[in-house]
C-alpha cells in the first residue's frame, strides 16, 4: 500500500518537475538563441502587468498551443495519425522516469529510489524505450499521407536507428567502468575519488571519448539542429507537417522532453549524476580533512539541486550547439554515424577493455 502511494507521489512529483523543466527549456531556447543572435527575445507575456523578462512566456506559448485550431486533414490515415504524437511523447517521457534525481530514500522500513522506475536494468530500459520512440516518427510520417511527411518520417527513422547503435556502443564503455545496469548504482559508483581524493571519478574523466560520442549520437537521436534532417525547417517540415494545434504541440513537447532526457542521461552517466563532490549520505568529507555532517533529507535536497544545476548546464550546452551549427546533409549524417561514431565507440570499448585488463 505504501508502495503504491509512494509511486503515485513519485510519478506526480517527478513528471511535474520534468514538464516544468521542459516548459522552461522552451523559454531558455528562445532567450538563449536571442542572446546569441544579439537580440533580446520574448519578453512581452505578462501577468497583471508583470513581465519578468518573459518569465511567463512558456505559459502563453502553451495556452496558445491549446487554443489553436486542431485541424485533421481529411486524407490522413486516422489511427496512425492520432497515435503518432502520443507515441512520441510517451516514449520520450517514460525514460525520464528512470533517471534518479537524488539518492534513494529510506521510508517505512523500505528503500525508495528517487526515480519513478527504480529498475536494476535502467540502462537497458532506457535504450529500449528510446528505440520505441522511433514509432512516433514513422507513424506521423506515414499517417499524414503526405509525401513530405513520409519523406521526413523515413529520414527520421533511418537516422534514429543508425544512431541507436552509436548510443548503445558508446554506453558499453561506461558500463564496463561502472559495472552495473542500475542507474542509481552507476551514480553511486561515480561518488569515488582519485588523485588523493581531489578528482571525482566521474564518467567524463574515465570515458572522455565515450562522453563525446554519446553527446553527438544523443543529439542526432534528438533530431535537432545540426541533425534536424527529418524536419529540415527550411525544406520539408517533415513528419509533423500535417499536424496542428495540440497534436503538433505534443510532438513539440516530445522534442524538448528528449533534450531533457539527453541532458539527464549525460549528467547521470558522465557528470556524476546528483553527486556534489565530496558530499556523501551523511554529509561532506573534504579531501583536506574537514567534514560537515548533514541530515539525510538536506543531503537529498542538495543532491536534487546539484542534479538540476548540472542538468541546466547540459541543456544550455545542447541549445548552444543547436544555435551554432548548420544542418548536416543526409549522406554526411550517415557517414558520421556509421563511419565515425560506431567505429570510434568500438575502438573506445577495446581501449577500455585493454586498460582495464592492464590495471587489473
Amino acid at each position: 500500500m505504501e508502495w503504491v502511494i509512494a509511486v503515485a507521489v513519485k510519478v506526480i512529483v517527478i513528471f511535474t518537475w520534468a514538464l516544468l523543466t521542459v516548459l522552461y527549456i522552451t523559454l531558455l531556447e528562445r532567450k538563449e538563441s536571442a542572446v546569441i543572435q544579439d537580440r533580446i527575445g520574448a519578453n512581452r507575456a505578462s501577468i497583471l502587468g508583470l513581465r519578468l523578462n518573459g518569465f511567463f512566456q512558456p505559459y502563453a506559448d502553451a495556452l496558445k498551443m491549446f487554443f489553436k485550431e486542431d485541424y485533421t486533414p481529411p486524407f490522413v490515415d486516422k489511427p496512425f495519425y492520432y497515435l503518432a504524437p502520443l507515441v512520441s511523447i510517451v516514449f520520450a517521457l517514460i525514460p525520464v522516469g528512470a533517471v534518479p534525481v537524488a539518492d534513494s530514500i529510506g521510508l517505512f522500513g523500505r528503500k525508495f529510489p528517487l526515480s519513478v522506475i527504480g529498475s536494476n536494468v535502467g540502462v537497458v530500459l532506457i535504450l529500449s524505450l528510446l528505440s520505441l520512440a522511433v514509432y512516433g516518427v514513422i507513424f506521423g510520417g506515414y499517417g499524414s499521407r503526405n509525401k513530405y511527411g513520409v519523406l521526413g518520417g523515413m529520414r527520421g527513422t533511418a537516422q534514429a536507428i543508425s544512431y541507436e547503435v552509436a548510443i548503445g556502443l558508446s554506453l558499453v564503455g561506461v558500463l564496463m567502468v561502472f559495472p552495473s545496469l542500475d542507474l542509481n548504482e552507476i551514480v553511486h559508483l561515480q561518488n569515488r575519488y582519485i588523485l588523493g581524493g581531489w578528482v571525482p571519478l566521474w564518467g567524463i574523466f574515465l570515458q572522455p571519448l565515450a562522453a563525446v560520442l554519446f553527446l553527438i549520437a544523443g543529439m542526432a537521436e534528438n533530431k535537432r539542429v545540426p541533425f534536424d534532417i527529418p524536419e529540415g525547417e527550411s525544406e520539408i517540415i517533415g513528419y509533423f507537417l500535417e499536424y496542428s494545434g495540440m497534436k503538433f504541440g505534443m510532438f513539440f513537447v516530445a522534442d524538448f522532453v528528449e533534450i531533457l532526457l539527453l541532458a539527464a542521461l549525460f549528467t547521470t552517466f558522465f557528470l556524476g549524476g546528483y553527486n556534489l563532490p565530496w558530499l556523501f549520505t551523511e554529509g561532506f568529507h573534504f579531501p583536506w580533512g574537514g567534514s560537515l555532517a548533514m541530515s539525510p533529507i538536506i543531503v537529498r535536497i542538495v543532491q536534487f539541486v546539484t542534479f538540476n544545476i548540472k542538468l541546466w548546464i547540459m541543456i544550455w550546452f545542447l541549445l548552444l550547439v543547436r544555435w551554432t551549427y548548420p544542418r548536416y546533409r543526409f549522406d554526411q549524417l550517415m557517414d558520421l554515424g556509421w563511419k565515425s561514431l560506431v567505429p570510434l565507440s568500438i575502438f573506445n570499448i577495446l581501449i577500455t577493455a585493454a586498460v582495464m585488463v592492464v590495471i587489473r
Partner: protein, 154 residues
Amino acid sequence: MRLFIEAVKGLGVTMKHFFLNMFYHILRFFHLSHKKGETVTTQYPEEKRETFTRVRLRHRLLSRDDGRLRCVACYMCATACPAQCIYIEAEEDPRNPLEKKPKQFIINLGRCAYCGFCVEACPEDALRMDVHVPEISEYKKEDLLYDIDKLTHW
C-alpha cells in the same frame, strides 16, 4: 581533427556572443549600466527608432498662409502615380488666379507604393511625404482611402 577544432571554434563564437550580451543584460537588469552590448533590438512601442529625414511615409496636404489648401487639383500626382492610387475631383475655386481646387482628394494607401513620384510631380509643393509616423494601419480596407481630412491632419 581540424574539423573538430573548427567546430569548437564555432561554439566559441556563439559562446562569446552569449556571455558578452548576457553580461550587459545582467548589468542592465540591475541598473548598473545602460549599454546594450551588441544587442540591436529596439523595444518598439516603448522606444522608437529615429526616422531618416528623407524617409517617405504617409502623405500630407499642405495649406497656404490663408489656411486653404495649396493643391490646385492639377492631377499631376495622379498622372505620375505608377500605382494609380490617387483620385481627385476638382471644382471651381473663387480665388483668383487659382480657379481650381480639389473637391475630393483621395490617396488609396492600400495601393500606394510610397515611391514619392507624386511629391516630385507636384508643381505647387502641396503634397509631401514627410510625416514621420510609420504606423499607417487601419482596421478596414476602406479606411486606407485617405481623404483631404485625413491628409491634412496627421
